[in-house]
C-alpha cells in the first residue's frame, strides 16, 4: 500500500520549510549585527572617535580613519554623481531603445558586476602608477567613483522613469525646451530617488576594502591634503582583525562601520519609499 501525501498537506510542509529558511536568513543577519554590537558597543566612546590611532591601532582611537573614509567617500561621490545622473538622464530622456541605449545599459550592467579587487588592480595601475597620483585620497576616491557609477545610474534611471509623463507635457506646453524641462521639472521631481542612489553609493564606498587598500593605501596619519595616503575604516578594521592587533578595537571599529551602514540603508529606504509612494 502506498502512502500519498495530499496536495494540502504538501502545501503546509512546503510553506513551513520556506518560512523556516527565510527565518534562518533573517536570524543570520540579526546575529551578525547583534554579535558585533554586543562586543563592540561597550568599547565605543567619544575619545575612541576623536583620538589619533596609536601603536598601530592597539591604543588610541580611529580619528584618522574616520577622516580618511569621509574624504575618500566625498571625493568619490563628487565625481560619480554627475556622471551617473547624466548617464541616467540621457538613457531615459534622449534614447528610445536602440543601439546606443543598449551599449550604455550594457556598460552599466557589466561595470556593476565587476568585483572590487579588479577595481583595486585597475586603480592601482591607472591612478596610482600611470597618472602618478600615488597612494592617496584622490586615487582611492577616483577608484571608488568608477565603482559606484552603476549604482547611481540604475537608481536615478528608476527615479526619472517614475516622473509622470504629464509633468513633461505641461512644461512643453508652457514653452519649455527639453533642457529646461529636465532641469526644472524632471530632476527636481526625481531628486529623492536620485539621493537614494547617491546614499547607496556612499554605503558601498564606506564598506569597501579591496578597491581602496591598493589605491588610498594604509597610512595612519591625519590626512593633510588630497594627495595624502590614508587608511579608511574598513581597511583599518581589516588590518586590526587579520593581524590580530587588538580584538576590542576591531569590534569597536566594526560597530562604527555597521552603524554607518545601517544609517545609510535606513535613510535610502525611507527616501525611496516616500518617493515611490507618491508617484507609483
Amino acid at each position: 500500500m502506498t502512502f500519498r501525501i495530499g496536495p494540502r498537506t504538501n502545501q503546509i510542509i512546503a510553506y513551513s520549510i520556506l518560512l523556516l529558511m527565510t527565518l534562518i536568513t533573517v536570524v543570520v543577519l540579526f546575529f551578525i549585527i547583534g554579535y558585533v554590537f554586543k562586543n563592540g558597543i561597550g568599547q565605543l566612546s567619544l575619545e575612541f572617535l576623536t583620538d589619533k590611532t596609536r601603536d598601530m591601532g592597539k591604543e588610541g582611537g580611529i580619528l584618522p580613519s574616520i577622516l580618511g573614509t569621509f574624504f575618500v567617500t566625498i571625493f568619490a561621490i563628487i565625481i560619480a554623481t554627475p556622471l551617473g545622473v547624466g548617464s541616467a538622464v540621457y538613457l531615459v530622456e534622449y534614447t528610445k531603445g536602440g543601439l546606443i541605449h543598449r551599449i550604455i545599459s550594457f556598460g552599466a550592467d557589466c561595470l556593476a558586476g565587476v568585483p572590487s579587487i579588479i577595481f583595486g588592480l585597475f586603480g592601482f595601475i591607472f591612478f596610482v602608477i600611470r597618472l602618478n597620483l600615488g597612494w592617496s585620497i584622490i586615487s582611492g576616491g577616483l577608484t571608488l567613483a568608477v565603482m559606484i557609477i552603476p549604482t547611481i545610474i540604475r537608481t536615478t534611471e528608476e527615479a526619472i522613469k517614475a516622473v509622470p509623463h504629464s509633468f513633461r507635457e505641461i512644461s512643453y506646453s508652457l514653452g519649455g525646451g527639453k533642457l529646461d524641462t529636465i532641469l526644472k521639472v524632471v530632476l527636481p521631481t526625481s531628486l529623492p530617488g536620485i539621493l537614494t542612489g547617491v546614499i547607496l553609493g556612499i554605503g558601498r564606498a564606506v564598506g569597501e576594502t579591496a578597491a581602496v587598500i591598493f589605491t588610498a593605501g594604509s597610512s595612519l596619519g591625519i590626512p593633510t591634503s588630497a594627495f595624502s595616503s590614508t587608511r579608511t575604516l574598513a581597511v583599518h578594521f581589516y588590518i586590526l582583525a587579520r593581524e590580530g592587533i587588538s580584538m576590542p578595537k576591531a569590534y569597536a571599529t566594526a560597530t562604527v562601520l555597521i552603524i554607518i551602514i545601517l544609517l545609510v540603508n535606513f535613510i535610502a529606504y525611507r527616501l525611496m519609499h516616500r518617493f515611490m509612494a507618491k508617484y507609483y
Partner: protein, 277 residues
C-alpha cells in the same frame, strides 16, 4: 542651441560607464597578457606558483575559486530561492515590506565584517566539530553563500513578480494549491530571471576577496576535502599585490585578466538571459 549642446554633453557623460569598462580591460590586459605569452600557456595553467622563481601556474587557485564558488551556490541557491518564493508568493504586503529591506541589508554589510564573523565564529566552530584547521573550503563556502543571498533573492523575486497574475488565477481555478502553482507554473515561467540571478551570484562569489582571504586559509595547494585550506584567484591578488614587482606583478595582472574575463562572460550570459529591454 542650448538643447543641442546639452544633448552632446549628456551623450558623452552617458558613455562614461562603458569607457571605464574599456579602460579597466585595457590596463589590466596590457599589464598581464604579455606575461602569459612570455612564459607560455603550459606554465600559466600549471599548478606550480612560485612567481619569484619563474613559475606562474594558477591552476590550483582556479580550482580553489571553483570549489568555494560551488560551495557558495550549494548554500546560496536553496536559501535564496526559498526567501524569494516566500516573499513573492506566500507573504502579505506588510510582511514583504518588512522582510525585503532586511534581506537587502545583507548586501550592505561590508565583506570584511563577513570575514571577521567567519574568523571569530565559523572557523573555531568547524575546527572543534569537524576537525582540520577551520580555515577551509567549508568556511568560505558558507560565508560566501550568505553573501550572495541578496543577489539571488532580489533578482528571483523580481522574476516571480513579473509572472502575469492570470497564471496564478488560472491555476487556482482548476483547483491547484499555491505550492503546486509555484512549482508547476511560476518557477518555470520565471526560470530565466532565476538563472540570471544565480549566475550573477556566482560572479559575486568568484570575485569576492576580503572575506575569503580572512577565512579560507590561503594555502597554496589543491584542497582534497571541504575541511582543507584553500587559495583562490582573488586572494592571491590581494595578498601579493602589495609587494610584487616585475614579472611577479605582471603575473598577478595576468591572473586578474583571467578573473576579469570569467566575470565579464558571466555578466554577458546573465544580461543575455534576462534580455534587457
Amino acid at each position: 542651441m542650448k538643447d543641442k549642446i546639452a544633448e552632446k554633453l549628456l551623450l558623452f557623460i552617458a558613455f562614461s560607464a562603458i569607457l571605464f569598462l574599456l579602460l579597466i580591460t585595457f590596463f589590466i590586459f596590457q599589464q598581464g597578457i604579455p606575461l602569459i605569452f612570455k612564459v607560455g600557456l603550459s606554465n600559466f595553467f600549471s599548478t606550480h606558483w612560485a612567481p619569484t622563481r619563474g613559475n606562474f601556474g594558477i591552476l590550483s587557485m582556479i580550482i580553489g575559486s571553483l570549489m568555494v564558488t560551488a560551495g557558495a551556490l550549494v548554500v546560496g541557491i536553496p536559501f535564496g530561492l526559498a526567501c524569494a518564493i516566500f516573499l513573492a508568493e506566500f507573504s502579505s504586503p506588510p510582511i514583504q515590506k518588512t522582510l525585503k529591506p532586511i534581506i537587502e541589508l545583507l548586501a550592505g554589510i561590508p565583506s570584511v565584517v563577513y570575514g571577521f564573523i567567519g574568523i571569530v565564529i565559523l572557523v573555531p566552530f568547524i575546527r572543534e566539530h569537524f576537525g582540520g584547521p577551520g580555515f577551509s573550503v567549508l568556511a568560505a563556502s558558507i560565508i560566501l553563500g550568505i553573501m550572495i543571498l541578496p543577489t539571488i533573492v532580489s533578482i528571483s523575486y523580481d522574476a516571480l513578480l513579473a509572472v502575469p497574475n492570470t497564471y496564478r488565477e488560472g491555476s487556482y481555478a482548476v483547483g491547484a494549491t499555491k505550492w503546486q502553482t509555484v512549482v508547476m507554473l511560476l518557477l518555470p515561467a520565471a526560470r530565466s530571471g532565476i538563472v540570471a540571478g544565480i549566475i550573477l551570484g556566482m560572479g559575486r562569489a568568484i570575485g569576492e576577496t576580503m572575506a575569503v582571504i580572512m577565512i579560507a586559509g590561503n594555502a597554496l595547494k589543491i584542497p582534497h576535502s571541504m575541511l582543507d585550506s584553500v587559495r583562490t584567484l582573488t586572494s592571491t591578488l590581494a595578498l601579493e599585490l602589495g609587494y610584487a614587482t616585475g614579472d611577479h606583478r605582471a603575473a598577478l595582472f595576468a591572473c586578474g585578466s583571467f578573473l576579469f574575463l570569467i566575470i565579464i562572460l558571466l555578466n554577458i550570459i546573465a544580461i543575455k538571459i534576462t534580455g534587457r529591454k
